[in-house]
């Protein structure tokens, strides 16, 4: 899903780890290592060392950054994750963040920590911002459920409060502006206010983070203060906060950020968030926090799913080398995800991690052995037989888009406002050229005829394929049916030429048919007919109306038929 930009040297230094052992990996092997993170190398600039990597797994936001990719590779190289101390520690006198009542109506949750000892470099800052953006944008659904702020710690006096204020009560200078603005001004004028303001649209009171001196830190999830909330190259003491609507997602995002900063050498100090009422994690919530629970999985289930007997030792090793905390109990493994992950929904998620950690190449493919009978559906068989016959009759098969325009399917066919002119229409139209589904085949054939006046004549064209016919009695509002349409165009073509072809087709399909004169706006009156099989209409045939030809800008007589194969099948 997300595509991120990272740098070779940054990745290498993050791979080194605390023991100082350089585990730099040759670029040639990078793609192989990226399998561990479901990453695909999209671009590599050898001059700048820039790497563009797409991360596929939308449930693993921890991997959407250089630190996360390096971490997953490092764990594999080291065999296990070296635990992050700050998750286990309980500081004696932590900083406090006080949540005032009323937040539950607007944006209930907040998590925060401090990070000291990592001096922000230019590249490091770009990575911090990238992670912040990807998390808030994709994981946080465009800041709706999660948004993140980073600040210079030295400017903040604790405790920080998270509360609601009136839109014009507080003013501060937001990032990207020169002067102080009220919150309502920010919503009306600031680009971020315009972009993310709708998240707070129905609120009469707005959220704000302020420190003990009442200095605004930010107006979440819109914008930070420029005075406190602008991190610059060289800063080495940071304050990070996450706000949002889902407590676990909020804490998980902070956990990821804290682990990333720790990987870059910062010392993380947790912050205690004090809620006015109890949350699922209590009234006082220390953040970051490892709130994950271990899952007990039967060895049998793992081995069955993987199709291979691995034994407890191998499974334990594989999971540990992927970051899990694992213990083995009789016939089961008790596996706990590292604190920066929260994507374990089902046993199978653990199974995949076993396979990935071992490497897919370690599993020998086995052919599924059970016997099954293959075959085509009845409609496909009928369609194939009809196509063979049309080829035998000298027709060239064509193939068309099904999504087209009302202009082609209705106006050019003189069908506007008639029973034949109804189509399945698209609601969120991007382009009128692709705004409705074809309801019959003739327009698809005329499309080719209109574009091919310079191809030598005669033209004998056909297409077999699906159409969508509006039908109020159907649960989907339309029926998808398979039809075959054919067209002949040349200077002296006439009704009986196409009639002969229909006659041959019906004969070999074993369908006795008759024609009944009909009025149809697309055909010349007196030269058009309804095709009846067992007295039921299954299609139309005729000489195409000159006005239709004019609308398509076709300067050659055209005769055509359109037979509904689904209806033929239904008739038995």
């Amino acid at each position: 899903m997300p595509t991120i930009t990272i740098f070779e040297d940054d990745l290498e230094s993050l791979l080194t780890g605390e023991d100082g052992v350089d585990r730099g990996i040759p670029m040639a092997q990078l793609e192989e290592w990226l399998m561990l993170v479901k990453g695909e190398l999209k671009g590599h600039n050898p001059e700048t060392g820039e790497l563009r990597i797409e991360l596929q797994d939308s449930n693993r936001p921890d991997l959407w950054c250089c630190e996360g990719i390096a971490r997953q590779i490092r764990i594999k190289q080291q065999g296990r994750l070296k635990p992050y101390a700050f998750f286990a520690e309980t500081p004696k006198s932590p900083h406090h963040l006080i949540v005032k009542p009323g937040m539950e109506q607007v944006r209930p949750y907040v998590a925060a920590c401090t990070a000291k000892g990592y001096r922000v470099t230019e590249k490091g800052l770009a990575q911090l911002i990238q992670t912040q953006e990807k998390l808030a944008d994709i994981f946080g659904r465009k800041r709706k459920t999660v948004s993140i702020g980073i600040y210079q710690l030295r400017n903040i006096t604790f405790p920080v409060t998270y509360e609601l204020v009136k839109p014009d009560e507080v003013r501060f200078t937001p990032l990207g502006m020169e002067t102080a603005m009220t919150l309502s001004e920010i919503l009306m004028v600031h680009p971020k206010g315009l972009e993310y303001g709708p998240i707070l649209a129905v609120q009469s009171l707005l959220p704000i983070l302020r420190d003990a001196k009442a200095q605004p830190l930010s107006f979440p999830p819109i914008i930070n203060s420029r005075e406190i909330g602008e991190v610059r190259v060289g800063d080495d003491e940071l304050f990070v906060e996450v706000t949002g609507t889902d407590l676990r997602m909020v804490i998980l995002s902070l956990n990821i950020f804290a682990a990333n900063l720790a990987d870059r050498g910062a010392t993380i100090e947790p912050v205690e968030v004090r809620y006015p009422t109890s949350t699922v994690l209590g009234k006082r919530v220390k953040t970051p926090q490892d709130f994950g629970k271990p899952a007990t999985i039967r060895m049998k289930a793992i081995e069955q799913a993987l199709g291979q007997e691995l034994g407890e030792t191998i499974v334990k090793q594989a999971l540990e080398a992927y970051g899990y905390d694992v213990s083995v109990e009789k016939g089961s493994v008790k596996a706990k995800l590292p604190p920066y992950r929260h994507d374990l929904m089902h046993t199978m998620d653990v199974v995949e991690d076993v396979a990935m950690s071992r490497g897919y190449a370690k599993f020998t493919p086995v052919m599924p052995a059970q016997f099954t009978v293959g075959g085509l559906s009845a409609i496909e068989q009928l369609s194939d037989r009809s196509r063979e016959l049309m080829v035998g009759l000298g027709f060239q098969e064509i193939i068309s888009n099904i999504l087209g325009s009302p202009d082609q399917y209705c106006r050019c066919m003189r069908l506007e406002g008639t029973e034949w002119g109804r189509t399945v229409e698209v609601d969120n139209v991007m382009s009128l050229s692709f705004s409705c589904l074809r309801q019959w085949m003739l327009p698809s054939l005329l499309r080719i005829e209109a574009a091919s006046s310079r191809a030598f004549y005669p033209h004998r064209l056909f297409e077999a394929g699906d159409v969508a016919i509006p039908d109020g009695t159907h649960e989907l509002g339309s029926r998808t049916e398979t039809v075959i349409g054919a067209l002949i165009a040349h200077a002296t073509t006439h009704f009986s030429e196409i009639h002969s072809c229909l006659d041959v087709l019906c004969y070999y399909l074993g369908k006795a048919y008759s024609l009944e004169p009909m009025r149809h706006p697309s055909f010349l009156e007196g030269r058009a007919g309804r095709i009846l099989v067992s007295g039921k209409p299954v299609g139309v045939i005729g000489e195409v109306h000159p006005e239709v030809l004019e609308r398509w800008q076709i300067a050659m007589p055209v005769v055509a038929f359109d037979v509904n194969l689904s209806k033929l099948i239904a008739l038995g």
Binding site: M1, H346, E352, F363, T364, P365, G374, E380, G394
Partner: protein, 521 residues
């Protein structure tokens, strides 16, 4: 060259041309018209015979002259009837000057039958010639000088009204006027058209001279070109000399009945899948979000379900009902996992959203419906389904395209049999012996695999994705055995086989291209 054999293969028209030239003194060249006259041939017959003889090197082109011919266009004929705009403007201006009336360009433009742009052009030309002045207030006044252009036009229209003439037959001044008022690219509204008439003259080559001499001395035997039923009936073919043909010439082109090359490619894939024991599934173009996405455990907040990724149906916007018990079961699984052993997505499932009608965005929707319809166990299914994505159309994105997908159900299904199946696809569909399996992510499978293969001609390429359906997908639909879900990305293979580089060409409207594309799969 064997002249006798050559003479036997000559067409009667060719003989006429050869002997006509052969009767003239050696080295004589005749133009097309003279030659046609002397040989008593129609122009079309002569041109056929000449082309054949040139191909056989029996005659040569002695000279080729290009003569520009001027004729009147439809507009020219109109000017001849009603006078040209410049004349009409001049007449009006003289009249105004004579009577002292004010005449402005807008006045002229509002006069019947004159195009505003013609008026501006005419006034411009007259002003340049000093025939009119534009005085204060934008009024036009004549100076009394004659207009050479107007006079030339009148003369030329009269002269050419009857018949086209050679451009060279006019004076240089008139030639300039013709050039100025001739139809050009981007300017079709002019009275004259200059066409180039190419005139060629022909003479015998040495071989042709030999053949002609022999024809003239031996005379032409009575020949018949077509063996007819009458000749067969009375046995008179025995006394008849059947002309020999020059069979090395290219034959005339004929139209043919043929399958579309892309459909042909899909047919071969279909045949292979059936031969591997797969049963075909069909589905509808319009689907509910439920079957298209919810049943596949894609959470309703998933980015791929956004208004910018899926086409929504306008009317009706929602289905009346989604089949139970599937709707309630799937809703619970999304919310809390229900009995699937999953924690679920942990959000409140919107039943109304599940009923929203969309254009099918993935072939997996067809598989989901099959799972819910008591499939065979063990069972293998496939579909070649038309799908729609909300993409800007370009060389690599089409709004509607085919997805080749399917499922395999059975007690023996696991991660290794999944890899085994993919190996089989690699061998059968892409003729690949080397395969690489990469971890992948799809919302509805776990584990998930991406398969890269080394195609004999294309090199390493991604052939498809697959995985084991999550229990969150299978259990609510009533399937208790493991299920492989697989999809093949075949468009790239098809495009290379068809020699095209733009995905839009798969659905091209160019009949000539469709007729001439050979699919080599």
């Amino acid at each position: 060259m064997d002249i006798s054999a050559l003479i036997d293969s000559l067409h009667p028209l060719e003989i006429k041309v050869l002997t006509t030239l052969g009767l003239r003194p050696s080295g004589t060249a005749l133009g097309s018209e003279q030659l046609a006259g002397a040989a008593e041939l129609e122009a079309s017959q002569l041109s056929m015979a000449v082309e054949w003889l040139l191909a056989k090197s029996l005659i040569t082109v002695q000279a080729e002259t290009v003569t520009p011919i001027v004729s009147l266009t439809k507009i020219g004929e109109e000017y001849y009837q009603t006078a040209s705009p410049i004349e009409r403007v001049l007449t009006a201006a003289r009249e105004a000057t004579g009577t002292g009336k004010r005449l402005t360009i807008p006045d002229l433009q509002s006069q019947g039958g004159l195009d505003p742009s013609d008026v501006s052009k005419a006034v411009g030309r007259l002003k340049k010639e000093g025939v009119v002045l534009i005085i204060q207030g934008g009024c036009i006044e004549t100076t009394g000088r004659p207009s050479p252009t107007a006079e030339a036009l009148r003369t030329l229209l009269g002269e050419m009204h009857d018949s086209p003439k050679e451009l060279k037959s006019f004076t240089e001044a008139h030639q300039e006027v013709i050039e100025d008022f001739a139809v050009k690219r981007g300017n079709a509204k002019e009275p004259f058209r200059v066409d180039e008439r190419v005139a060629r003259s022909f003479m015998l080559s040495p071989d042709g001279a030999g053949a002609a001499a022999q024809l003239l001395t031996q005379g032409v035997a009575e020949e018949v070109s077509q063996l007819t039923p009458d000749l067969l009936k009375d046995g008179s073919w025995r006394q008849t000399r059947l002309r020999k043909y020059t069979i090395s010439l290219r034959p005339p082109r004929i139209g043919t009945g043929k399958k579309h090359p892309y459909r042909e490619f899909l047919d071969t894939v279909k045949t292979k899948l059936v031969s591997m024991g797969f049963q075909e599934m069909r589905g509808a173009l319009v689907e509910t979000e439920f079957w298209d996405m919810d049943a596949l455990f894609m959470p309703q907040f998933h980015p791929a379900r956004d208004i910018h990724d899926v086409y929504f149906v306008k009317e009706p916007s929602h289905t009346t009902a989604v089949d139970e018990p599937f709707l309630s079961r799937v809703a619970k699984v999304h919310e809390n996992g229900a009995e699937t052993g999953s924690a679920g997505w942990g959000y409140s499932f919107d039943v109304h959203r599940a009923k929203r009608l969309v254009l099918r965005s993935q072939g997996t929707a067809v598989s989901a419906r099959t799972l819910a319809a008591s499939p065979h166990i063990p069972g293998k299914y496939f579909s070649i389904a038309r799908c729609f994505r909300y993409d800007q159309v370009d060389a690599t994105h089409a709004t509607d395209f085919f997805q080749v997908e399917g499922i395999v159900l059975g007690e023996d299904i696991n991660f290794r049999t999944l890899l085994g199946l993919l190996n089989l696809f690699a061998r059968e569909v892409a003729q690949a012996k080397e395969v690489k399996f990469l971890p992948a992510y799809f919302p509805f499978t776990e584990p998930s695999v991406e398969m890269h293969v080394r195609h004999p001609r294309l090199g390493w390429m991604e052939l498809g994705g697959a995985g084991l359906f999550r229990s969150e997908v299978t259990l609510p639909l009533g399937v208790t055995v493991p299920v492989i879900a697989w999809g093949l990305g075949l468009d790239r293979m098809a495009m290379v086989a068809l020699g095209i580089h733009d995905i839009r060409e798969l659905f091209t409207d160019n009949l000539e291209l469709i007729r001439t594309t050979r699919g080599l799969f």
